[in-house]
Symmetry: C2
């Protein structure tokens, strides 16, 4: 996004320096995997938001650079360990760390990356560090809790849509809110402004995650970059599936359970039939409605923030661009 | 130890409150294992040292309680993940977390515990938090590096005694130094006093670890509480083994390698013959000499500290008691 090109420049420079520092650290067995996963890229949404959260109050985004790096390191730590938990072979089209270097190195380099996030944060301005650390650690714990809830869902019979929203809020959304608020803290923004910015980020995160579930089923195969219907094949408890169970009548529930647990149906047929049922129940539209609800809440919080109007509009544009992936 | 009974009282109270807080947190799947491992006890040496590091400068030990808890939480995180790495079935005579609840819960509750350590630390006095966080995070990274070095040793052909001292310094000793220094930071001690206290703790830690290797071979079976010779059986690269390789002549090296890698020798015979070789080479005495060297360095640092003499003597007594396990 054009409006953020100078922020991206600051960020990319800092990430590059961080990588150089990791690259020159030893033991290599622990640091090479850290460098590898950071080098896989990604959109850098979280650390960018930290710089935006500072810049929106007309403060120098460099003041938030340590917080931004901390957020990116923490995010990468969570990717390493989530991939172990999920036994995922690939991350952004490349081998995951545990696949490439083995389980123990993945575990330990993840640990090292998490501590590194806090070490980087420790170099923030002394006036902000207590608040930054309290928010960052609280959020980090919530992310772990969200991951645990997600794991619990795998074996839980009854999961409500409400439970699901709670899970994605912790697993994904709070880190977006935290990223923005950390920037605002570095800009000495008022508590009111900080809170609105946090809520904005959180609700954008919730909307994003719900739309991600929709995309997994309804995306254009070629544009999606991963297998459409993957969530259906793996019986993942997504917004769509949980909503479908809440809306289904007795025979539809029976059919859905049959599709989920039968070993006689091909994956292709399973995806087709579950999608048909989703269409009958209208869960796609309900998911989009729920995502829009959270987008609206987010934008209301953004409106409340006392900040540079142009910069608020830029943030609005950035969020809508994030959410406006073709469904 | 009598001199520290009131510090232990403060500490135990705080740990108990921490456990109550964990006990009332959810999801239970993540918090129950944390509570379990903290409940297994241990000597609580590290958090006690944090309180001692504050008290020795005649400051209220309560001022260091968050730092002390952070250290204990971090230590317990490292135990959870080390047990996964080592595939250890038992910890303090009880099932390890990954044995009791499975790998994924162990991984995640370890992560949660580590973030919790930083969250607790965030409640320290604002005047100290930057320094506390910088020291704590730096030490945390060193502990991970030490663990990685230890893992590397398993497949490394040549490990020098010097490499070994470096590894135990990071894996074990720096956290003892850090624990004490964090207390000193909370007491507003001078940088000079802080550094001497850190070095004291670090060298006590090195001595402790070397003596631990000696104990594993030469302890009284009944008093030791675990299998004597366990390190020999598992070919662990201890101070004794590495020193033996450095001192052995050609035929002794050959014999040692034979004992280590032959599948035809019983464990009992292996322990006996390796111990005989250790005795011939005098590595036990050399290890004790090396441990004493570090104890002496530690005590010299303690002498340099400008603090209450009685309290310095108490700390000396405590350290010597820690080290004076019957060999």
């Amino acid at each position: 996004m054009q409006a953020y090109s100078s922020l991206f420049q600051i960020l990319n420079q800092a990430i590059q320096e961080q990588q150089q520092s990791l690259d020159s650290s030893s033991p290599k067995e622990m640091y090479a995997p850290m460098n590898y996963i950071i080098g896989l890229g990604g959109k850098r949404v979280r650390p960018l938001l930290t710089l935006v959260g500072c810049d929106i109050f007309d403060c120098n985004p460099n003041d938030a650079i340590h917080a931004a790096l901390a957020v990116e390191l923490f995010h990468n730590f969570s990717l390493i360990h989530d991939d172990i938990l999920d036994k995922a072979p690939l991350r952004r089209g490349n081998q995951t760390i545990h696949e490439k270097w083995g389980h123990n190195i993945a575990l330990l380099s993840g640990d090292g990356m998490m501590v590194k996030a806090f070490e980087v944060l420790a170099h923030s301005n002394k006036n902000h560090i207590t608040q930054l650390l309290q928010l960052f650690a609280k959020t980090g714990i919530e992310v772990c809790e969200g991951q645990q809830l997600d794991m619990n869902f795998e074996t839980q019979d009854k999961v409500s849509v409400e439970n699901y929203i709670h899970m994605i809020t912790y697993k994904t959304a709070v880190l977006l809110g935290c990223s923005l608020q950390m920037g605002a803290i570095c800009a000495n923004a008022s508590t009111k402004n900080q809170n609105h910015l946090y809520e904005f980020g959180k609700h954008v995160g919730i909307a994003f995650q719900i739309l991600d579930d929709v995309l997994d089923v309804y995306a254009d195969d070629e544009k999606f970059g991963k297998q459409v219907g993957g969530d259906i094949i793996s019986n993942k408890k997504t917004f769509l599936l949980l909503d479908a169970f809440e809306l289904a009548n007795e025979s539809q529930t029976k059919e859905l359970n049959h599709l989920l647990y039968s070993t006689k149906i091909s994956n292709q047929e399973k995806v087709k039939q579950v999608t048909d049922l989703y269409n009958t129940l209208g869960v796609k539209e309900l998911a989009i409605k729920e995502a829009n609800k959270h987008t609206d809440i987010a934008l209301k919080h953004l409106e409340e923030i006392e900040a540079n109007t142009i910069k608020k509009n830029n943030l609005k544009g950035f969020a809508l661009q994030l959410l406006n992936r073709e469904v």
